[in-house]
């Protein structure tokens, strides 16, 4: 099956099996080394990518759903300006995810930060995820390298930078 999509801002034509999972496509056909899984069945949460700006588990996305979509892996995300909010949050709090889950947890944090942007753009102002939700969402990645307090501290710090970024823009 031939599919055209955008991966890390590059237009790519893929010729893959229609049911091949996106994580395998990224590893084998596009050779993105930072997206790797250990479980093969959606349980480890290590293969998160942004698909049309929304975080998804790439092992649960088949090739035939990729026509015309924009995929951003951690490699591409690091080139975006939003990465710096999280990078500074990691440095400020002194807590970092371990190298195994760094990419995946960072992209989950990013999807949570996008909730703030959406809520501030829309009519309701109180859609910032509460602490319980933040810890639950990060729990999608089963690696236990960060405790709940560290997760919340990283998110709060990154959210502050993200809000400043919005204020500066207007």
């Amino acid at each position: 099956m031939k599919i055209t999509c955008t991966i890390d801002n590059k237009h790519i034509l893929l010729n893959v099996n229609s049911n091949k999972p996106l994580n395998l496509i990224l590893m084998e056909d596009v050779e993105k080394n930072q997206t790797y899984t250990r479980c093969r069945d959606g349980n480890c949460g290590n293969c998160v990518v942004l698909l049309n700006e929304e975080a998804v588990l790439s092992c649960l996305i088949p090739a035939f759903r990729l026509k015309g979509v924009r995929i951003l892996t951690f490699e591409g995300y690091q080139k975006s300006r939003f990465w710096h909010d999280l990078e500074r949050a990691y440095n400020d709090t002194g807590s970092h995810p371990c190298p195994h889950c760094f990419a995946s947890k960072t992209l989950i944090f990013e999807s949570l930060l996008q909730m703030i942007i959406k809520s501030e753009a829309g009519p309701s102002q109180d859609e910032e995820p509460d602490n319980e939700v933040i810890v639950h969402e990060i729990g999608l990645n089963t690696c236990a390298c960060l405790d709940a307090q560290e997760i919340i501290a990283i998110f709060k710090s990154a959210a502050t930078y993200r809000r400043r970024r919005r204020v500066r823009r207007y």
């Binding site: 099956m1 893959v16 099996n17 229609s18 049911n19 091949k20 999972p21 395998l24 093969r40 069945d41 959606g42 349980n43 998160v48 929304e54 975080a55 998804v56 588990l57 092992c59 649960l60 996305i61 088949p62 035939f64 759903r65 989950i108 999807s111 939700v133 639950h136 969402e137 729990g139 999608l140």
Partner: protein, 296 residues
């Protein structure tokens, strides 16, 4: 590495009529809703047994949420996360609790209602909750050139072990839940039905009462791979009972449910599941008592 592996043909019908004709032309094809269940199986890829795919993603009728005078109607391709945006005024509390406690937001964006109730071997919490809410599903059956449509109660599409009883030419297209609100509802889950189904227990309970007299008492106990129990005789037994329930009544209900579980699930049930089911039932009934007393 993938030599000899066929790339399955993917059919993407744009309307319900196209879907029905595709389902009769390709009877062995797999219906693809969100794909979270199919792709989370260990043997999903690579495999030599991959079947053709009929993707339901391009049919707008299946993605609609409608509100009528009596029902909330949801297309089978509506995602869990979309349901949560419907709002507390419209969405039954029990359904909201269930959706919120299912997986994480990232997976809920992909999980669809139709996919969740039609998983072949594993029952997840949504089926039990919809059964407790007496929801109905719209089944379209393709009969050659004709199509038959009927609404049936959701528990009728499963047997007591929770195995899906739909025929090959049956399609679940919509789900509807009545606006009649329960006075008390509870959803409890222990374990994860996708990771360790043999230890997981889920209980959905909806009860309506007026001036402490029970008018509806509906419970659904689910063990993902071996049990889908709606004890209807307890519903009848509790109808007209005055709250709070006595400890004797609670004991009798729990005992009767446990006996039924052991009859249906026989040896397949683990002691941990039995214990969880017993405690869930007990604590739910005590909570019901506490709520009814606090309203006096």
């Amino acid at each position: 590495m993938y030599e000899g592996i066929r790339s399955p043909a993917v059919h993407m019908p744009k309307t319900l009529n196209d879907l029905i004709s595709a389902s009769s032309r390709f009877p062995n094809a797999t219906f693809w809703a969100g794909g979270t269940f199919i792709m989370s199986r260990n043997n999903y890829y690579p495999t030599r047994k991959s079947k053709d795919i009929i993707s339901l993603n391009e049919i707008p009728e299946l993605k609609r949420i409608n509100r009528t005078d009596r029902y909330l109607e949801m297309g089978c391709m509506v995602t869990f996360e979309q349901m949560l945006t419907v709002g507390k005024q419209v969405l039954p509390g029990l359904l909201q609790m269930t959706l919120e406690q299912t997986a994480t937001m990232i997976i809920r964006r992909q999980m669809t209602l139709g996919g969740a109730i039609c998983t072949p071997g594993v029952r997840i919490a949504l089926s039990g909750t919809l059964a407790a809410l007496q929801a109905e599903v719209e089944i379209k059956t393709s009969l050659g050139t004709k199509t038959e449509t009927q609404w049936i109660e959701i528990e009728r599409i499963y047997n007591k072990q929770g195995v899906l009883q739909l025929k090959k030419n049956d399609l679940v297209t919509r789900i509807r839940v009545g606006f009649e609100r329960e006075t008390f509802s509870s959803f409890l889950i222990a374990g994860n039905p996708m990771i360790n189904p043999e230890e997981t227990v889920m209980l959905s309970f909806a009860c309506s009462y007026n001036q402490s007299v029970i008018s509806r008492f509906r419970m659904c106990l689910t063990f993902p791979t071996i049990l889908f129990l709606i004890p209807l005789e307890i519903d009848l037994m509790m109808h007209g009972t005055t709250l709070p329930l006595t400890s004797q009544q609670i004991k009798r209900v729990v005992q009767s449910i446990m006996e039924e579980v052991q009859v249906i699930a026989t040896d397949a049930v683990l002691p941990i599941q039995l214990e969880r089911a017993r405690r869930f039932t007990e604590s739910t009934l005590h909570e019901l008592n506490a709520q009814s007393l606090s309203e006096r």
